[in-house]
């Protein structure tokens, strides 16, 4: 307002001068300079006055803020609505040189939702997430997966857990349905994966990811080195378990993680875990005529992750190196798919190693090798999908992705698949977008 007024006065003066006096060019220049000086002087003084006024107001308001409350509202990361609601959109366009319909990996009949990405244009899982503190001692999280299966819309409760946040002595507990904390990739949401699909050992041994109903207890050591120990008891309703054995206490797991920093640029995490599960009539392989497994399934994992970013400035440039080794021993009996009940005792291994590099903001490139090996279960399984493969199933993948912000990502991936019955080149495009509240990502 005041600025306008002053400008108006100047304008008036300028018009007055220019119309009333036919001044020389040099006089005009002089006038202009003087005018400009005057104006900037006034501008500065006005800015100074406004600033002093603002400061006075601010100090006054601050003083009142201080006296009003000694415990102000806390807004560190809590969503602006309660509960925080978010939606994650994914979808892909995937191309195979061989028909993926009958895709199988010799020696490793897949269970659950494991398998290749849908061919062609397809909507992935749409996830609806809600989370909030329940009160001062509990928080809760819900993930609903909305998917289209065989032309019908399906709503699945993917995660629904309550966490006790006020336990003493470094303990934490979670109950409900949750991603098991075994391995490294198992507890990571699909939208946080660095490749569009899970590596072979996760597909073969965990049907992608192990989610089950149960309880988890974690303890964190009071040391500068990150040391976390935990265990889970689960219903045993999900692959590799099945049938909720032991009266619905079918599986349990143990896990240990250590981690720390190596200088200002690097940090690391390493861990081991053990999953003991019991299967009763666990289906795998062909959906209409599945193999059925009854027996014990034990899985051991070892994993290491190294992350690097200059000065720890993640946004500009970073590198992630990640590898996991999984070993499974199954001891029991196979039937179904034309098999008469036959003893089955086999050790199988799988691993993957990957590197993802972000050279400049927004762009990342990555490569991954994933592989499986299996003992031979014996002549009774010759000519079946359970016989050991002649060559170790293996895949080689490269990917490039672009993230406009942390909420949107477009990814191009190419995979050379030497795991299926026919060697295959696969490539695809994937998108991952999210709106609304978005949980902070763990390391």
């Amino acid at each position: 307002m005041r600025v306008d007024f002053v400008n108006g006065v100047f304008l008036f003066l300028v018009i007055g001068f220019s119309s009333g006096v036919l001044a020389q060019d040099s006089d005009l220049d002089l006038l202009r300079t003087e005018l400009a000086e005057l104006r900037s002087d006034y501008d500065a003084r006005i800015a100074d006055l406004e600033h002093r006024l603002a400061l006075a107001e601010q100090n006054q308001q601050q003083a009142s803020l201080l006296t009003q409350s000694s415990v102000p509202a806390v807004n560190i990361g809590s969503p602006s609505s309660n509960p925080g609601i978010g939606v994650i959109f994914t979808g892909s366009a995937w191309n195979y040189s061989a028909n993926p319909d009958g895709y199988v990996v010799q020696g490793f009949p897949y269970g659950g939702e494991a398998g290749p990405i849908t061919e062609g244009l397809a909507l992935g899982e749409t996830e609806l997430i809600m989370n909030a503190n329940v009160d001062d001692k509990f928080s809760a999280w819900l993930t609903m997966a909305l998917a289209v299966e065989d032309g019908e819309a399906v709503v699945e409760i993917e995660e629904a857990w309550v966490e006790a946040t006020a336990l003493p002595a470094g303990f934490g507990a979670k109950f409900g349905r949750f991603f098991s904390s075994i391995g490294y990739l198992n507890s990571r949401h699909a939208h946080a994966w660095d490749f569009a699909d899970q590596p072979l050992p996760y597909q073969a041994f965990l049907a992608g990811q192990l989610i089950d109903d149960g309880i988890q207890v974690r303890w964190l050591a009071p040391t500068d080195l990150f040391l976390e120990l935990g265990g889970e008891a689960m219903r045993g309703g999900q692959y590799p378990a099945s049938g909720a054995a032991h009266s619905g206490f079918g599986s349990y797991s143990l896990f240990a993680n250590i981690g720390g920093d190596a200088g200002a640029n690097s940090s690391w995490l390493a861990g081991m875990s053990y999953l003991d599960s019991t299967a009763i009539g666990r289906p795998s392989g062909d959906e209409d005529d599945p193999f059925l497994f009854t027996g014990d399934s034990r899985l051991v994992t070892a994993q290491a992750i190294w992350k690097w970013a200059p000065n720890g400035n993640w946004k500009e440039k970073n590198l992630i190196l990640q590898a996991e080794y999984l070993q499974r021993r199954e001891d029991g009996e196979y039937s179904g798919a034309g098999l008469s009940p036959t003893q089955y005792k086999v050790d199988q291994q799988g691993w993957y190693a990957q590197a993802v590099y972000q050279p400049v903001q927004r762009w990342r490139v990555g490569g991954r090798i994933d592989s499986l090996t299996s003992d031979n279960p014996g002549p009774a399984f010759d000519e079946t999908l359970l016989a050991a493969p002649l060559n170790d199933p293996r895949r080689y993948s490269i990917m490039m992705d672009w993230a406009n912000s942390e909420f949107s990502r477009l990814r191009l991936q190419f995979t050379r698949d030497e795991a299926g019955l026919i060697d295959d080149n696969q490539w695809g495009l994937q998108y991952i977008h999210s709106i609304g509240a978005h949980g902070a990502h763990t390391f």
């Binding site: 602006s80 009071p222 990150f226 993680n257 690391w268 000065n311 902070a440």
Partner: protein
């Protein structure tokens, strides 16, 4: 057995330390905790002044630090939304959960500027609760220091008098320093600044600088070529006195604009340790003012 014994020896001295362990999200609050607590405090900052506090990883080392902390101090206003909730969730430390006395959201003690009802992400990284970079006005620091001293005295009641007297001493020195800074910075009033990110609104308010533009077209997203050329056209005949960026921000955009417009680009420490001169909180503001006076001649 010997291993167990060694482990025990390693753990016991840690437990026996009487120090108040402060975990801060940004270095300025660790520095402030040390000013007030002195020897009584062991402060650790999750980020350095060379890191962008919006984007760091919820690293295992930080989880371990939060696990043992007595007091967590963070700027808040969703600045750390991408990592602090994950740290707190994984750290299993009920004494520092938001809402408890061991958690302090620094920006909630001062008047936050630029709070908005509009949370459309098309406008970039906006903080609906207001701009979180409150430490760039020393008057804010004074208010937060008072709150922090009160909190420390409460958490470590045995040493309450020490915190009180150390705080009183700090407050006196701080007010004197503010008076000095304001005298020296008087010529800066009314100077026009282009900033890389909206990190400096509190400094501008304090010194009377006028923000006339940002290098980021959309907050949080890297400056685009289109936006930079637009700025070049807009400011080719002056119209701004200084281009400001923080140490962790890419220097290329501000250098680019400096070359084309002749407006001096300057790096200002956003926190303690951001520049060689910003050795502590006093050095931080000394250096900011020196650099601004040097640049905005």
């Amino acid at each position: 057995m010997r291993y167990l014994y060694t482990m025990f020896l390693l753990l016991v001295p840690l437990a026996a330390q009487a120090q108040l362990r402060v975990f801060s999200c940004e270095p300025e609050w660790a520095a402030l905790a040390e000013e007030i607590g002195g020897e009584l405090v062991a402060a650790h900052s999750a980020t350095t002044a060379l890191q962008d506090p919006h984007y760091i990883q919820a690293r295992p080392s930080l989880i371990a630090k939060v696990r043992r902390a007595n007091l967590v101090v963070c700027s808040g206003a969703q600045l750390e939304i991408g990592w602090l909730p994950a740290l707190l969730q994984k750290a299993n430390n009920r004494n520092v959960r938001p809402g408890s006395r061991g958690f302090m959201e620094a920006s909630s003690f001062v008047l936050r500027l630029d709070a908005t009802q509009n949370v459309d992400r098309a406008e970039g990284d906006i903080h609906p609760l207001g701009n979180p970079h409150v430490q760039t006005n020393p008057h804010n620091v004074a208010v937060i220091a008072a709150a922090m001293a009160e909190r420390m005295a409460e958490l470590d009641a045995e040493n309450a008098s020490v915190y009180e007297s150390r705080y009183a001493d700090f407050a006196t020195r701080w007010q004197a320093a503010i008076a000095d800074w304001e005298t020296r910075a008087a010529p800066l009033s009314g100077k026009r600044a282009i900033t890389h990110h909206k990190s400096w609104v509190y400094l501008e308010r304090w010194l009377g600088l006028v923000e006339v533009g940002n290098l980021e077209a959309i907050p949080g997203l890297p400056p685009t070529a289109t936006h930079l050329s637009q700025l070049t056209r807009e400011f080719s005949d002056g119209g701004a006195d200084v281009i400001i960026r923080s140490p962790y921000q890419d220097e290329k955009p501000s250098k680019w604009l400096e070359e084309r417009t002749g407006i001096t680009a300057v790096v200002l420490p956003l926190s303690v340790g951001g520049t060689d001169g910003a050795t502590d909180l006093f050095g931080l503001f000394d250096d900011i003012i020196n650099r601004l006076l040097g640049a905005a001649q």
